[in-house]
């Protein structure tokens, strides 16, 4: 047997390689949930193909007593259920690690490694003996390896059973078969291997007050709580589950108890051009409306985004980013839409962006997005990504302040209009660049003609330079006002004073936090500014100015965040260093560590 790793309790990575459409998903989340319920911080990343059945899929579970939830970049235990990818899965295991495979079929002798422990379990055979139907056999194989892991990792079987019972509450018959399969694996492992492995879990109490939730579900919940009533969409991975969740929550919370009538309206549009149009038609009428989409959808919404900017209509979009350009890799993650989203559409246009770092912020910033859109009267795009949107993240419980009331911004009521002498849609009454608006059907005096063509401050059609300029100059002023209204960045100061700063957005956060902790141990310090909104606002520029050198961490090839910083702040590009990760898998802390270690290395000019 290969030389064992030193004991690694509650601190390792487990990865399951499988084929999609074989029902491994439920088995994998069962594993993760078990660890979570044992009180141990855990995260799971799903790497699935862009098809429905038969292609490779991986599930990576990180167990970290210290609560580090980004990828570690290494795999300590591989469950290799997919012969197609066996070779590369084998290679991926870290020295001293373990690999479990289905020994029903002989394994190519060449496919071996002396430096890891390889554990064979005849999963297929066991299941074929115990179960009759073909489909069940396939499904139960998954439960069987969960059983094997239960033994090897010392998982709490009571917890597992409860979870299984909850899962199949509606089909109790399935509970027994699943537990049976589980026992098969468990017993086999106990009988044939020294259990538990040095790699194992041990109950803690570090997950109380936390939930495991994906960003799309959390964002959908945010839409419900913000009072959104109209949702328009066209299905696209990885944003689809956001609208699915919204529908689910509305069916639960938005049906009239008596009549069963719905207090929401979801329209599955014919495409993204229509989806954003539907949103704008709804917000024009004062409803809170949103559309979830991904890169290709944003591209198709480009014309309407410029229209909304110029006509000053609120709109909330969720861009759950995937790998571009073009169709790209729909089931991989990236932050590649920053530039497009910020300046979408021809002519001088700018859009407000929000950057959640995890599902909890998807919930919170969804609500912020609706308030901002109404207040600033412009589209607000929540820049999520596949990693946040579709993976389960451990985060603090979501909380809600009963005192919250939507900020509907400057909307004139029938009474106000009745009292008013005149109403002009595009006049800057308050000097903040934000005009007053009215809603159709409310009052004759409120009527105005909304148009994407040239208009003056009174809303009249114009082709006059001065009148046109007055309007677009006010829009620029409104943009400066927006910078004072958006969420401030989250700033983490290093324990020691430092001239180095890290700037990033969104899902890079977990990796950065871990990297900073580890670097600090090596005496390398950097402050960290997690930008949460575009336009950037004073706090961001201050942070930049306070640092001689800034590392810009982002998940795209072209340093798009850096470009935005160059365009919208005075901070010199010469003092920015890009740390780019754009392969499509969630970021791990290593690339950041290495970049800063290098920069710190003697003889390297800062």
């Amino acid at each position: 047997m290969a030389k064992q790793q030193k004991s690694r309790v509650n601190d390792f990575v487990l990865k399951i390689a499988n084929v999609n459409g074989t029902g491994s998903a439920s088995a994998n989340s069962l594993l993760m949930k078990t660890v979570f319920r044992m009180g141990i911080p855990v995260s799971g990343k799903n790497f699935f193909p862009s098809n429905i059945q038969g292609l490779p899929t991986w599930y990576e579970i990180r167990i970290s007593k210290d609560g580090y939830l980004a990828r570690s970049g290494a795999v300590d235990l591989m469950v290799a259920m997919n012969s197609q990818t066996y070779a590369r899965d084998l290679q991926e295991v870290a020295p001293g690690g373990f690999l479990i495979y289905d020994s029903t079929w002989p394994r190519d002798r060449l496919l071996s490694r002396p430096d890891i422990t390889i554990i064979g379990v005849p999963l297929a055979r066991m299941c074929n003996e115990q179960f009759s139907s073909a489909r069940t056999r396939v499904l139960m194989k998954n439960m069987a390896y969960v059983g094997v892991l239960a033994a090897l990792l010392d998982l709490d079987r009571a917890v597992i059973r409860t979870l299984v019972e909850e899962t199949f509450a509606r089909k109790p018959t399935l509970i027994d078969s699943n537990m049976k399969a589980l026992e098969l694996g468990y017993e086999y492992a106990r009988a044939n291997f020294a259990c538990p492995l040095p790699l194992r879990v041990k109950a803690l109490n570090k997950t109380a007050g936390h939930i495991m939730i994906d960003g799309n579900t959390a964002a959908a919940l945010g839409c419900v709580y913000a009072g959104a009533t109209v949702g328009a969409w066209y299905p696209i991975t990885p944003s689809t589950s956001l609208m699915d969740a919204f529908k689910g929550f509305c069916e639960r919370f938005r049906k009239d108890p008596k009549t069963g009538e719905r207090r929401y309206c979801i329209v599955q549009a014919e495409d993204e051009l229509a989806a954003i149009g539907i949103v704008l038609g709804a917000t024009w009428n004062g409803a809170r409306a949103f559309t979830p989409t991904s890169g290709p959808g944003i591209s198709l919404m480009t014309e309407f985004l410029g229209f909304a900017y110029f006509t000053e209509l609120p709109a909330v979009l969720f861009d759950v980013q995937r790998v571009g350009p073009s169709t790209g890799m729909p089931t991989r993650t990236q932050q590649g839409d920053l530039l497009t989203a910020a300046y979408a559409s021809h002519g001088d246009t700018k859009h407000v962006l929000l950057f959640p770092r995890d599902p909890r912020e998807c919930f919170e910033l969804a609500v912020t997005a609706f308030d901002l859109a109404d207040r600033v009267q412009t589209p607000v795009i929540v820049m999520s990504d596949l990693d946040i949107g579709m993976n389960d993240w451990m985060c603090k419980d979501l909380t809600w302040d009963a005192a919250y009331r939507p900020d509907r911004g400057k909307v004139l009521s029938a009474e106000e209009l009745e009292a008013a002498k005149t109403f002009h849609r595009y006049t800057d009454v308050d000097g903040d660049g934000i005009p007053y608006r009215t809603l159709p059907g409310v009052h004759p005096k409120g009527s105005y003609f909304l148009r994407g063509s040239g208009h003056n401050q009174y809303g009249g059609y114009t082709e006059d330079s001065a009148e046109y300029q007055q309007v677009v100059d006010r829009l620029a002023k409104k943009w400066r006002t927006a910078a004072t209204l958006v969420p401030a960045p989250a700033i983490r100061r290093a324990r020691a004073a430092t001239k180095w700063g890290i700037v990033a957005v969104g899902s890079c956060d977990a990796a950065i936090e871990e990297a900073l902790d580890r670097l600090a141990k090596q005496g390398i310090y950097a402050d960290y500014c997690r930008i949460r909104a575009f336009p950037f606002g004073k706090k961001v520029t201050q942070f930049l100015d306070q640092h001689e050198r800034v590392f810009v961490v982002e998940q795209n090839r072209d340093a798009q965040l850096k470009t935005l910083l160059l365009a919208e702040t005075q901070y010199p590009g010469a003092r920015m260093t890009s740390i780019l990760h754009y392969g499509g898998l969630p970021m791990d802390y290593r690339c950041i560590m290495e970049a800063l270690q290098q920069a710190a290395a003697p003889g390297v000019a800062a």
Partner: protein, 351 residues
């Protein structure tokens, strides 16, 4: 230059409708279209119809895309909110407006370029949803605003001023609507106010998607000799197949019709349309037959007009969705937010 506001001089003698409004109250800004443009006549018909219907002007939302036709909402109902969308995308705006504010009368005006080229997809899908709106296509067979290129409704063999001939079959919104399951399918001619006004009134009152394809000559680019969309051509070949009179709710049918001469259809608001066949051989109960009839007449150069098909039985967007009667933009926030306790309870699911 800024749009021109028309002075509203109200003649004391001017008739008033049930709400006490005069026809002036339904007018809009001064038209900037070419003198004689068919679109202006349709504008006049809309003003007349809304006045006669006695809708509060601000109870209507008028929407359009881009084009000369799409400019017209600025020329009627100045007390209504107007929405001049981007080219070809008005149907999606209307969908959102309907979803958010079902209390409004939605009136969409578009052109043949706006609806049948760039906007064809949205147009057909709005119809498929049976969106509760009146959708008027001001059809002149050309792109007027961009100076006279053929549109997708140009007829086979139609010629441009320069003599270029169109050799692609037209997309006929009426045939599309019939084949797609449209619930209110009409065609008219901008010069035929007597036919157009009641159609508009019926279309406004229909619950669902009411399409009126109005032949509306472009005097500047498509009113010449060999044009099949000219005034002369329309006047000569307009075949009124089935006339629709509109009778408001709770008003009994005055005019004396001979037995079996008219077929009354009740609309959701209690008003009725009285269908009177003018072309005996036209079967208004059968979509396929209707299409065949249109195609046959078309081969003879004739344009079949009237309320060609109506079916009140289909649910609109909200009927399908089962939405509350209160327009969604008026549902109080308290009825939308589940509150903190629900949130706490919900999260058990995520542990």
């Amino acid at each position: 230059m800024t749009s021109i506001a028309k002075p509203k001089i109200v003649h004391p003698g001017l008739a008033r409708n049930a709400l006490g409004f005069t026809v002036r109250d339904y007018e809009g800004g001064m038209s900037t279209l070419c003198a004689g443009c068919g679109h202006d006549s349709i504008t006049a018909a809309i003003v007349q119809a809304c006045f006669e219907l006695g809708i509060p002007p601000h109870g209507v939302a008028k929407m359009s895309g881009i084009g000369c036709s799409s400019k017209t909402p600025a020329y009627f109902l100045s007390a209504s909110h107007g929405f001049n969308s981007v080219h070809g995308r008005m149907p999606s705006i209307a969908t959102g407006a309907s979803a958010a504010n079902r209390g409004l009368y939605l009136l969409g005006v578009s052109g043949d370029g706006d609806s049948l080229s760039i906007g064809l997809g949205q147009f057909m899908h709005a119809m498929r949803r049976n969106l509760d709106m009146l959708y008027i296509i001001e059809n002149n067979g050309v792109y007027g605003l961009t100076k006279g290129q053929f549109s997708a409704s140009a007829d086979l063999g139609a010629k441009t001023k320069k003599g270029e001939e169109n050799r692609q079959p037209p997309i006929d919104p009426v045939q599309m609507a019939l084949a797609l399951g449209g619930t209110f399918v009409a065609r008219s001619f901008s010069g035929d106010k007597e036919q157009l006004v009641p159609l508009i009134k019926a279309g406004m009152s229909h619950r669902g998607f009411a399409l009126i394809d109005v032949l509306s000559p472009c005097v500047t680019f498509n009113d010449h000799e060999d044009s099949t969309k000219s005034y002369a051509h329309a006047r000569e070949f307009n075949l009124r197949a089935i006339h629709a009179d509109y009778v408001p709710p709770a008003e009994e049918i005055m005019a004396a019709y001979r037995e079996g001469e008219v077929l009354p259809v009740e609309l959701h608001d209690g008003s009725r349309v009285l269908l009177r066949k003018l072309a005996e051989d036209y079967d208004n109960g059968n979509r396929g037959e209707a299409i065949e009839y249109l195609r046959a007449r078309q081969r003879e150069g004739e344009i079949v007009t009237g309320l060609l098909y109506i079916d009140e039985s289909h649910p609109d967007l909200h009927g399908v969705n089962g939405t509350v009667e209160t327009p969604l933009n008026q549902v109080p926030y308290a009825d939308l937010c589940p509150g903190p306790d629900a949130l706490a309870a919900l999260q058990k699911r995520f542990r």
